[in-house]
């Protein structure tokens, strides 16, 4: 027997041991379905006890509700029993014979230039040709089959994809290929076929399938799209943007995409949403440095809502108070001139207004309601209403 054949047989033996070492996925499937069956049966026992109680105590309404709930449980139990029956009935996948594994290795050497068994690491490693997707060079990849993980339920554990000349996505260094993250291949449409190939020891098919995934690009579901491979990730939404569509926030000094950047409505500085504040008066977004406190009430407002560091609300209040003071002054003056009758007329201005032009009698209480009011006074009242 030549040296190379001996070597291949040794590798085939290691693969066979790897396939035997881990619990077969069929065992874990059987364990899972039986465990679900047991818990459903426990639930049924509990329901049976409750039903008995309902019957003994005459709780018909509760009993009816229990039966309604039971309908779903019984349906599920039937489906689970069918699943269990299928798993138990199907013959176990036989461990591939050494000869088949040997032939797999021979085929792998024909299909790939570089096949290497790393005994110390317990890995069978196949190297791809340099991969270029949509003009982006991703380099060569090592497809590493971890032999003592061959029986794992998830193919991610058994197959590692290592970039030899990594050109990772700028937004995530773990992503060395649109469908590889942290050395794990997301095989997409090939997932089921990969798992089947691993379980049945079709080692060469495993590598062929993995290579087919690596050599193609599914723009619909990448870890990072090739379109954004060299782009800058947005600090807010995480999406990548080309340099032309990336904006720098002068507040937090991070990069943002076109959708997440905004600006100060006062000074037009580019800022992210986190770095902007709201004017308490007009609700416009303003940067911290443009926001000032009203020296009267302390409200933080934008320059447009402040006049000489006084906010528009305080200015309005001030005007209102001035007008009220004027009004009060006027009333006091009239009270001094006209006496109590005039005071009542002021208190009831609508009456006074309707009686405009009537004679004023300072001592005639009965005439107070028809007191004419001075034109100046009436005009001021109208103005205050319009201001309000």
């Amino acid at each position: 027997m030549d040296k190379h054949k001996k070597y291949l047989l040794r590798v085939a033996s290691a693969i066979q041991t790897g396939l035997l070492r881990q619990p077969h996925p069929r065992l874990s499937d059987a364990e899972a379905t039986l465990s679900r069956l047991c818990s459903q049966l426990d639930g049924l026992k509990d329901t049976a006890r409750k039903l008995s109680l309902c019957r003994q105590r005459g709780w018909n309404l509760a009993g009816q509700q229990l039966l309604r709930d039971l309908r779903y449980t019984v349906q599920e139990l039937g489906a689970e029993a069918t699943r269990s029956e299928r798993i138990v009935r199907n013959p176990p996948e036989p461990t591939p014979p050494l000869g088949q594994l040997y032939n797999e290795l021979i085929q792998a050497e024909q299909e790939f230039d570089d096949v290497e068994y790393r005994r110390g690491e317990g890995k069978l490693v196949v190297t791809t040709a340099p991969i270029v997707l949509e003009d982006i060079r991703l380099g060569r990849f090592e497809m590493q089959l971890v032999l003592d993980r061959l029986g794992a339920a998830d193919h991610h554990d058994a197959l590692r994809i290592v970039a030899l000349e990594p050109n990772p996505a700028s937004s995530d260094e773990r992503v060395t290929h649109p469908h590889v993250s942290s050395e794990g291949l997301c095989a997409g449409d090939a997932s089921a076929a990969l798992r089947a190939a691993i379980i049945s020891g079709r080692i060469c098919d495993v590598f062929l399938l993995a290579r087919a995934v690596l050599e193609n690009y599914n723009s619909g579901s990448p870890f990072v799209s090739l379109e954004n491979w060299d782009g800058t990730p947005c600090s807010d939404c995480g999406s990548c943007a080309s340099p032309d569509d990336t904006f720098y926030c002068e507040g937090c000094e991070h990069d943002y995409c076109n959708d997440c950047i905004t600006y100060c409505r006062s000074c037009d500085t580019n800022l992210c949403r986190e770095c902007l504040r709201k004017c308490s008066l007009c609700d416009e977004y303003i940067c911290e440095s443009c926001l000032q406190a009203c020296r009267r009430c302390g409200a933080r407002a934008c320059p447009a809502c402040l006049d000489d560091n006084v906010c528009t609300t305080c200015i309005e209040k001030e005007k209102h108070n001035e007008q009220r003071n004027d009004h009060d002054q006027q009333r006091k003056g009239e009270n001094t001139r006209c006496g109590p009758a005039t005071a009542q007329a002021v208190a009831a201005p609508e009456h006074a207004a309707t009686a405009a032009g009537s004679a004023l009698h300072t001592d005639g209480v009965g005439q107070a309601g028809v007191l004419p009011r001075p034109r100046r006074h009436r005009n001021r009242r109208v103005r205050r209403h319009s201001a309000a």
Binding site: H179, C186, A187, G188, A190, R202, L209, E215, N216, N218
Partner: protein, 75 residues
């Protein structure tokens, strides 16, 4: 006659199937994977590449592996 057919498309399975005598690889491909393009598959008979007019023999091992598979970001 019976052959072992390994279909790595979709779920991926290996099974023995009946094939009429004189069936070529091309014909077998079109029967098993109708509507697909043979150029998108790596077809091997007894682990070796064969011409499309190769006549399948009893006991042959025929495998078909897609070369254009869409990966994903999440399994």
């Amino acid at each position: 006659m019976q052959i072992l057919w390994i279909n790595n498309d979709g779920g991926g399975f290996a099974d023995y199937v009946e094939v009429a005598a004189g069936t070529t690889v091309d014909k077998f491909f079109n029967e098993q994977l109708p509507g697909r393009h043979a150029g998108d598959y790596l077809i091997r008979v007894n682990r070796q590449p064969v011409p499309r007019d190769y006549v399948i023999q009893p006991g042959d091992r025929v495998s078909m592996t897609p070369t254009k598979i869409e990966g994903a970001a999440a399994a």
